[in-house]
């Protein structure tokens, strides 16, 4: 004998709350959206760099023009914001990086998330310093 079909839970009119502007409702979400927004600035910066690369293939004048355009107040303003965004992005990137890794054990003790983040940030800082030094120690003299 088959069991009778049971109509359980029928007829209760549940209420579904709309998501609306959910990202404004909690500071955690606002910082998350800023992280996501930072990608737009990083993309824009990458496109500007790409333009610069392309201009290299077009000859000296094109490249100088591109370099010159970077000196305008708008461009400087954009680059300052982009630098802040990249820094924030890097910071949040390292903070969530441990979540993407399987557990790591060294000599029988598990590497904590805080250690992984600290190592990552340290490596990023070291790399940045190296690049900074490499660029500015080897910078050619400004043309007359």
């Amino acid at each position: 004998m088959k069991a009778d079909p049971v109509k359980a839970g029928a007829g209760v009119k549940t209420y579904v709350r709309p998501m609306g502007s959910w990202w404004l409702r909690n500071p955690f979400y606002r910082w998350y959206m800023l992280r996501e927004l930072s990608c737009a600035f990083i993309t824009a910066y990458a496109l500007i760099l790409l333009r610069g690369l392309m201009s290299l293939t077009e000859g000296r004048e094109a490249f100088d023009a591109w370099r010159g355009s970077l000196g305008s107040p708008w461009a400087v303003g954009f680059h300052v914001i982009a630098l802040l965004m990249v820094t924030y992005h890097a910071w949040t990137w390292f903070k969530v990086m441990p979540k993407t890794l399987p557990f790591v054990s060294i000599a029988g003790r598990r590497l904590s998330d805080r250690t992984i983040i600290a190592l990552g940030l340290a490596a990023a800082c070291a790399a940045s310093i190296l690049v900074f030094l490499a660029v500015f120690l080897n910078a050619p003299q400004a043309p007359p």
Partner: protein, 248 residues
């Protein structure tokens, strides 16, 4: 222990009745409290002495059964381990867990989660059936460490209330279900990882997650569902390429 103080705090509850309300409304209550009273005890005071119609789930009072999850001032917490003294002077805004349909007042519909839990095959699938007479599997403390924290999940659903992806896309398998999936996959006694892969690989599986990370912040048991979901992105990618290079 502190001496009982007789202060009062306002608790603003979101109310909803499926038979009479077309949308939720607010109702405030003045609750006298002592320093060691939890929000749950505050709500119980309301129900016992002020308004018996206020409806909420609770059971163990010690943050292990997972019944009393709700939004307090916009954050998902367990009411039994959140204390009125920390929210004073208030008012305390109490709402049912976000991202779930409301059945009544602070009671939400859990059936979607229960369905998702069932879908991830949350049981040990050993390589071969072991008769009871041959005793227990061997498992060292190191092997247990690989999955133990994921087994701490009390199914309180705070992580679902925290996850905006789940709110935007209710088909997303979600943090707790994926954490429990990882609990079994990482258990040395289990051989069911391949069988659970389709769930992980799905758009609404591990890939439904954008690593907001709020789930792990709100989890009362340090399960770290964000990790469980995101290590499975690596597993899913590996699986994808393995099948690309060696088709079944």
């Amino acid at each position: 222990m502190s001496a009982p103080a007789h202060r009062t705090i306002t608790i603003e509850c979101l109310r909803y009745h499926p038979a009479t309300d077309s949308r939720p409304r607010q109702q405030s209550y003045e609750v006298p409290f002592t320093d060691d009273m939890s929000v749950l005890q505050g709500l119980q005071h309301v129900k016992d002495h002020i308004d018996g119609s206020l409806t909420f789930r609770w059971s163990c009072r010690m943050a292990i059964c997972g019944s009393c999850g709700m939004m307090l001032n916009g954050q998902p917490v367990l009411a039994c381990e959140t204390f009125l003294r920390d929210l004073y002077p208030g008012p305390v805004r109490v709402e049912p867990l976000s991202h779930f349909p409301i059945i009544r007042d602070l009671v939400i519909d859990q059936t979607d989660f229960l369905r998702k839990l069932e879908s991830i095959k949350p049981y040990l699938m050993p390589a071969e059936d072991r008769p009871v007479a041959s005793g227990t599997f061997l498992q060292t403390p190191e092997q247990m460490d690989e999955y133990y924290q994921f087994s701490q999940c009390i199914n309180c659903l705070l992580c679902y209330a925290a996850c905006p992806e789940y709110g935007l896309n209710p088909a997303f398998t979600g943090p707790a279900a994926l954490a429990l999936l990882q609990r079994y996959n990482a258990d040395s006694r289990d051989a069911g990882t391949a069988e659970r892969m389709p769930i992980v690989n799905a758009e609404d599986g591990a890939w439904g997650c954008t690593l907001v990370g709020y789930c792990s912040v709100v989890c009362p048991k340090a399960v770290d569902p964000a990790r469980a979901v995101n290590v499975n992105k690596i597993n899913s990618t590996r699986d994808y390429f393995r099948h690309l290079l060696m088709p079944r």
